[in-house]
């Protein structure tokens, strides 16, 4: 209590001094506009005061400085961002509670003595054993939702391999309540809130402090020639005096608000006093202590880490790595136990011997010379930090080892030894080689196949070209033959005709008979030529059949008309029977007529008495044309060969009938091309039936 009274007295005295100074400073009085926002206890507008005057640590300090400097303070209330915008625009002179950052320094001017230092701190329930960061392992920790603390804490804890649960809560009040109720283990707050409220919730501060920042008044850039130096000057003075207004304000705003009750007056004053003493030590002391604790923590953590890493490394090395040391001239100075077992040497056998010739063969099977390898390694250590080469076991087996090489230099920088740590990668390399060989084999196989395909393609192309050339030659031959044979026939038949017509004078009976024989023979020769050309064309694939619709009945009638004089001459009855369903057909009209004429001619030719009949009817999608005669008929053994070329069936020892013997084979070949068929039934001595089947419309 004494202390408090002393403080008050001091403050009063100070104020009195200040007031007495003001008039003299009033001469250079200037208006200083200060931004105000809500962030108690640093700066805020208390509800209780009706004046609307702002309050808080920053206000106390700037009010004090303004008094000293004779400034006329004006306040511009708003939000934090409004304040910063106004500052940038130069409409206010100072913005309080601005943490210094490099990016802000680009926009605003800062003074150099910090007003306050702020940090984040972890609070835990009293009686919990949480004191340092490591104690937070497996704990449930509360943090302000979407706050910078959240990220900062994660960053802080990152290196410590801690397992904790971080829970976001909307505000500090809830946070402290939750921890106080035992539903969470710790809470992260800013230092000011913690100091003000921890006690109320029965929480205590821990040594976990992070993200410290310094808070200043900021001024617009280039407008702070007098303001900022004045603030610095006063702050230095204020902070040097533990009794100054600065510390009074801190105490005032950070102390727990206490309700004074007369009976507890002494006790509370006592507590207040102790609190004030503690606080008067200042945030600096607290921070210093906490930084020390944290540094110790970090050191311990680092040490542990280094120790465990070393242990890990040792384990790995001893377990399955070859550790080899040798001098720059290749003399082996060390080979670990694993290495000795691996290569098959005792330490006594191998130490002191040359690397090349023992562990390293003089050359790889690929032919790579390994003798200069060591020299290369010591000359260009960087390039050989990793090196894969073939090594040789005592039993002569060759192995692939992946080496990590490190030069060990003495204090003069001279390379003393080379440390090589190697692992056996032979299985991997063997697999790779196998895969490579398989790939190579596949590739070669594919190449051979491709080449074969190319060869076959070329062969086929050549064959096709040859076939096409042959076709062209055949066509030309047929055309030429046709032409060359017709030219003399034209004269023979023509002049025979002239004579027979009596154009060159009358012929006697014998002459007439003989000239007719010439003409008949010449016509037979012409028919033969036509048939041979036809069949040659078909066999050369030169004959193309058309597919056009036409009326089948009229085509049949036309062919019957052609052959009727012949039938009449032989005294044969020519019968025609076309069903009503027979209508249009789509095929090659000329070729169909040729076939029908041929069949009718044959029938007439081989029939001496009776009749020749043509029937036509429709069967589903086919027309069936039948030519039946009452002639000599065919023997069963002759039926098979009937449609082969040049197979005229002889009736006896002499050839009685004209004809090339090609007609039926041409019919069959033409019908094949037209998508139809021909068949024959016959009884020897009774007659024959030839049946032609053709689709009504060919399939598309």
């Amino acid at each position: 209590m004494d202390f408090l009274m002393k403080q008050c007295l001091l403050l009063i005295a100070l104020l009195m001094v200040l007031f007495s100074v003001v008039p003299s400073a009033g001469a250079e009085s200037r208006v200083v506009t200060v931004g105000v926002y809500e962030n108690p206890p640093k700066i805020f507008t208390p509800d209780k005061t009706d004046t609307g005057e702002p309050a808080g640590i920053f206000i106390d300090i700037i009010a004090y400085i303004a008094e000293q400097e004779g400034w006329d303070l004006k306040y511009a209330p708003g939000t934090w961002t409004e304040g910063l915008d106004r500052l940038a625009a130069g409409t206010i002179d100072l913005m309080p509670d601005v943490a210094y950052t490099a990016s802000r320094d680009q926009i605003y001017a800062f003074h150099s003595v910090p007003v306050l230092s702020s940090w984040f701190q972890v609070y835990a329930a009293k009686g919990s054993n949480i004191h340092s960061l490591l104690d937070l392992n497996h704990k449930r920790i509360l943090v302000l939702d979407r706050s910078v603390q959240h990220d900062a804490f994660l960053q802080l804890s990152q290196g410590f391999d801690l397992d904790f649960t971080l829970v976001s809560v909307p505000d500090y009040h809830t946070m402290f309540q939750t921890v106080a109720a035992g539903d969470a283990d710790a809470a992260i707050t800013n230092s000011f809130y913690g100091v003000m409220n921890a006690k109320k919730f029965g929480l205590h501060d821990t040594a976990v402090i992070f993200s410290p920042s310094n808070l200043f008044f900021a001024a617009p850039k280039n407008q702070s020639k007098h303001l900022l130096p004045a603030i610095d000057r006063h702050l230095s003075k204020l902070k040097n005096d533990s009794q100054s207004l600065y510390y009074q304000s801190l105490r005032h705003w950070t102390a727990e608000p206490v309700r004074f009750r007369l009976p507890e007056w002494v006790k509370i004053t006592g507590i207040g006093g102790i609190l004030l003493i503690l606080l008067s030590l200042g945030s600096g002391l607290l921070l210093k202590h906490q930084v020390t604790v944290r540094t110790r923590e970090l050191e311990t953590a680092n040490h542990t880490l280094r120790a465990s890493e070393q242990k890990y490394r040792d384990l790995v090395m001893l377990a399955n790595s070859i550790i080899l040391r040798f001098t720059p001239d290749g003399r082996i100075t060390f080979l670990n136990e694993f290495g000795q077992k691996f290569f098959g040497y005792d330490a006594t056998e191998i130490l002191g011997r040359q690397v090349v010739g023992t562990l390293v063969p003089e050359s790889e099977t690929t032919g790579r010379d390994l003798r200069p390898l060591l020299e290369d390694i010591s000359r260009n250590p960087k390039k050989f930090e990793r090196n894969v080469n073939k090594n040789i076991l005592r039993n002569g087996d060759r192995v692939w080892i992946d080496w990590t090489n490190k030069m060990i230099a003495d204090e003069n920088g001279e390379i003393k030894e080379i440390l090589s740590i190697g692992s056996d990668i032979t299985p991997r390399v063997k697999n790779e080689i196998k895969i490579y060989q398989l790939n190579e084999a596949l590739r070669q196989e594919a190449e051979i196949l491709e080449q074969r395909v190319a060869e076959r393609t070329a062969e086929l192309r050549e064959a096709k070209e040859q076939a096409e050339a042959a076709d062209r030659i055949k066509s030309a031959f047929l055309a030429t033959m046709s032409h060359e044979l017709r030219t003399p026939l034209n004269s023979i038949i023509g002049f025979t005709g002239v004579l027979l017509q009596g154009l060159a004078g009358d012929l006697n009976n014998e002459q007439q008979k003989q000239m007719t024989m010439v003409q008949t023979s010449a016509r037979h020769l012409l028919a033969l030529i036509n048939d041979v050309l036809d069949i040659s064309k078909i066999e050369a694939g030169q004959l193309k059949v058309e597919a056009k619709p036409f009326g089948l009945p009229s085509a049949i009638e036309k062919t019957v008309k052609i052959v009727s004089p012949l039938a009449e001459k032989k005294g044969l009855q020519l019968k025609l029977d076309i069903a009503d369903t027979v209508d249009t057909i789509t095929t090659d009209q000329r070729r169909l007529e040729q076939i029908m004429v041929n069949l009718l001619n044959n029938a007439i030719k081989f029939t001496d008495k009776g009749q020749v009949a043509l029937y036509c009817r429709k069967e589903n999608t086919q027309y069936v044309i039948t030519v039946a005669d009452t002639g000599m008929g065919l023997r069963e053994q002759d039926l098979e060969a009937l449609f082969q070329p040049f197979r005229q069936i002889d009736s006896g020892t002499t050839r009685k009938h004209d004809g090339s013997g090609l007609g039926l084979s041409i019919c069959k070949k033409l019908l094949d091309l037209m998508g139809g068929s021909i068949s024959v039934e016959s009884t020897w001595g009774e007659g024959s039936r030839f049946t032609v089947r053709l689709p009504v419309h060919p399939e598309e």
């Binding site: 047929l478 046709s482 017709r486």
Partner: protein, 122 residues
Amino acid sequence: MGKKVLVVDDNANNLLLEKDLLEVAGFTVFEAENAADGLIITRREKPDIVLMDVRLPDMRGTEAARILRRDKETADIPIVFVTSSVMAEGIEEIKDIKKSGFIGKPINTRTFVEEISRFMKP
């Protein structure tokens, strides 16, 4: 005087055969054994019809026909190809020549003149 016919054929026998048949029917027949002579006679005589073989020693009859078609004075003279080239290729060759006809050899002596007359202007 009968109508004028030019017969162009390199085979003397066939030329004579056609000439005989046509003269019997009352035509005035001009003869040429090659295309060049045929062209000269056509320009000079302006026949009512030209009977043209296709295979001629100096050029193809179809070629000679095209030359005649380009000349205004001979463009309208009907040309009948009397040829042994009766296969599809031969017929194809004359398809695009206007006012032309086709008679395959050997000719039918009974119907030859009648066939020729059908190609001529009435």
